[in-house]
């Protein structure tokens, strides 16, 4: 069964293709950045911003808005692209990414970039921050939901496991953590760096409502988010199996495209072509 109607699915696919273009264009402008983990998160972020969340330019300061916390802050090109699609920022800002005086910092900065909820970039902080937002909502009897996106390499951080204990203890069913499980971190495969497996067993043991999906399948993402809404007294963690560098052939599953770097020369041409960029010289 799919919960996505045909038109929504089509719209999401178009938005995702555009977001990939935004990421590659931004990356080429900046000459550095973290394309691999931004590309793996495209469908997840697209689904959240264009289907799931009640978060718009109109309600961006409302206490009742849904919140998105990018815990894997290095994937900020995906967030910036989505914010541009939703009208929070202009695509003109892309040129200033990682540049002095620009609004788009190398990692998210809520004071500089409209629509950013937290200054992430230091791995492990975002889940804790999101738990605090979710707990604050319970105190204030607000009904909004909190979404946070973590990297799988980020799970090396001990703070994350402190946070998993805390979330289960306080039964924060208004929070969904999504793990962008692309299996690679900066240096190599996650399981080669330090044993991450068995991930699902670990998360289940920590008392969370665990859902595993294909993180590039909109129907699966949508269904998981729907299921999460129905989980009571438990926070949900969605393990989204993804491909690092997804959509750009030479980046897929290659650790070095974690970053920080940007494609150059022939690779730059290939990347621009594969993401469907037709805007002429950058």
């Amino acid at each position: 069964m799919t919960l996505l109607d045909f038109n929504t699915g089509k719209m999401l696919k178009e938005k995702a293709a555009e977001l990939r273009r935004h990421i590659i264009v931004m990356n080429c402008y900046a000459g550095s950045g973290h394309p691999g983990g931004a590309l793996s998160a495209v469908e997840i972020i697209t689904s959240l911003f264009h289907d799931e969340m009640n978060f718009t330019v109109a309600n961006k300061n409302s206490p009742s808005r849904d919140r998105f916390v990018l815990s894997k802050g290095h994937a900020c090109m995906a967030l910036y692209g989505a914010l541009a699609q939703c009208g929070f920022i202009s695509t003109d800002e892309f040129k200033g990414l990682r540049q002095i005086g620009g609004k788009l910092q190398g990692h998210p900065d809520m004071q500089k970039t409209t629509g950013v909820e937290f200054n992430s970039g230091s791995l492990g902080h975002g889940l804790s921050f999101a738990l605090g937002v979710a707990l604050g909502a319970k105190f204030k009897r607000e009904k909004f939901r909190v979404y946070t996106l973590l990297g799988d390499g980020e799970l090396n951080e001990g703070q994350v496991w402190e946070a998993f204990m805390f979330g289960a203890h306080y039964q924060l069913d208004n929070l969904v953590a999504i793990i962008d499980h692309n299996k690679l971190q900066s240096d190599a495969e996650c399981d080669k760096v330090t044993a991450l497996s068995p991930l699902l067993d670990k998360l289940t043991a920590f008392g969370w409502n665990v859902i595993e999906i294909d993180g590039h399948d909109f129907s699966a993402i949508s269904a998981a988010l729907y299921t999460a809404r129905r989980a009571k007294k438990r926070p949900t963690v969605i393990v989204a199996n993804t491909i690092k560098g997804k959509g750009i052939s030479f980046m897929e599953n290659v650790p070095k495209w974690h970053g920080s770097l940007a494609p150059e020369g022939e690779e730059r041409e290939i990347a621009l072509k594969e993401c469907g960029y037709e805007g002429g010289d950058l």
Partner: protein, 311 residues
């Protein structure tokens, strides 16, 4: 005599009765930090975070977006070192309204020993942008400081303390962040002290007066932003400065005062503090004597700095 942590606990309960805009976060040390009375009085405004200070600090940042003010409480070693990167990146950089209030500071910790005797916290927190750093001198000042820092938007780190302390101030004492207080005036030297050292500085000043030396004593209860006007005035009027802190001699009050003196009004100065070494378990007063934090050490520093002034 009551301890700063007990004064803190009482102040929390009193404030809790008239304000409902704050909650208290704890890392399984409520007995140690003095927050137990608040937990008993307001169980629904007390958030147990477990022995997980890093999650507690980042979580507090998120919680503050609700408009409620989280008061993070734990021992200073963990607030200022274990979770300092969370304080920097989750709290200070985005400038969230989080108050971190820590007990167990300096040799005042006593028998728990060096692992718990935080002597770097003032130096660390004052080097982080957006953090203001406060360390009251007695229970009365602490009770005045607490509502003041709660009403002042943005990150604050405040020291309490573990041992019973003499009361220095009357109930009508005022408190403003960034405003130092001249507790006693004199013309020969100024002792700028913080926390437990203010009472010791007053003892030293009293004894020196018997020898004909008149000391000004300044309670520098805000380390950052430091009250430059009072430091400048003291340098100009007394010509010599001694700083006194229950903290490492590097980077804390002495460092902050030296920065001001060096740039705007150089005069001879001496620092009293822990001499860049780990101490040991023991009674706080005995440790103060052994490690050079007592009134006798302050007196000796005053005599030395006055000698330098004359030469």
């Amino acid at each position: 005599m009551i301890s700063m942590r007990d004064a803190f606990g009482q102040a929390l309960v009193e404030l809790g009765k008239i304000r409902n805009d704050f909650v208290v976060l704890d890392a399984d040390v409520a007995g140690g930090t003095g927050t137990l009375p608040f937990r008993e009085a307001f169980p629904n405004r007390f958030i147990q975070c477990g022995i997980a200070e890093q999650n507690m600090v980042s979580m507090a940042a998120g919680f503050s977006t609700s408009g409620l003010i989280p008061i993070v409480t734990c021992y200073s070693v963990f607030a200022s070192m274990r979770a300092i990167e969370q304080a920097r990146n989750s709290v200070a950089y985005p400038k969230f309204n989080v108050k971190i209030i820590a007990s167990h500071v300096g040799l005042d910790v006593g028998p728990d020993g060096p692992s718990h005797q935080a002597m770097e916290d003032l130096a660390i927190f004052r080097s982080i942008p957006n953090f203001r750093v406060v360390s009251p001198a007695d229970p009365t000042e602490l009770k005045k400081a607490l509502p003041s820092i709660l009403s002042s938007d943005g990150p604050v780190y405040m020291r309490t303390g573990r041992s019973p302390l003499p009361t220095i101030f009357d109930e009508d004492i005022g408190f403003r962040i960034g405003k130092a207080m001249i507790v006693r005036d004199g013309v020969d030297c100024t002792i700028i002290a913080v926390g437990v050292m203010v009472a010791r500085a007053l003892v030293a000043a009293g004894e020196l007066e018997a020898d004909g030396i008149k000391c000004r004593v300044v309670n520098m209860s805000t380390i950052k932003p430091i009250d430059m006007a009072v430091i400048k005035d003291s340098a100009e009027k007394t010509g010599a400065i001694v700083t006194a802190e229950d903290h490492n001699i590097i980077g804390g009050l002495g460092g902050a005062v030296a920065e001001v003196l060096g740039e705007i009004c150089p005069v001879p100065m001496q620092r009293v503090g822990i001499k860049d070494r780990f101490a040991e378990s023991g009674d706080p007063e005995a440790l103060a004597t052994k490690y050079g934090l007592d009134s006798r050490t302050i007196k000796a520093a005053v005599l030395r700095v006055i000698k330098r002034k004359k030469s």
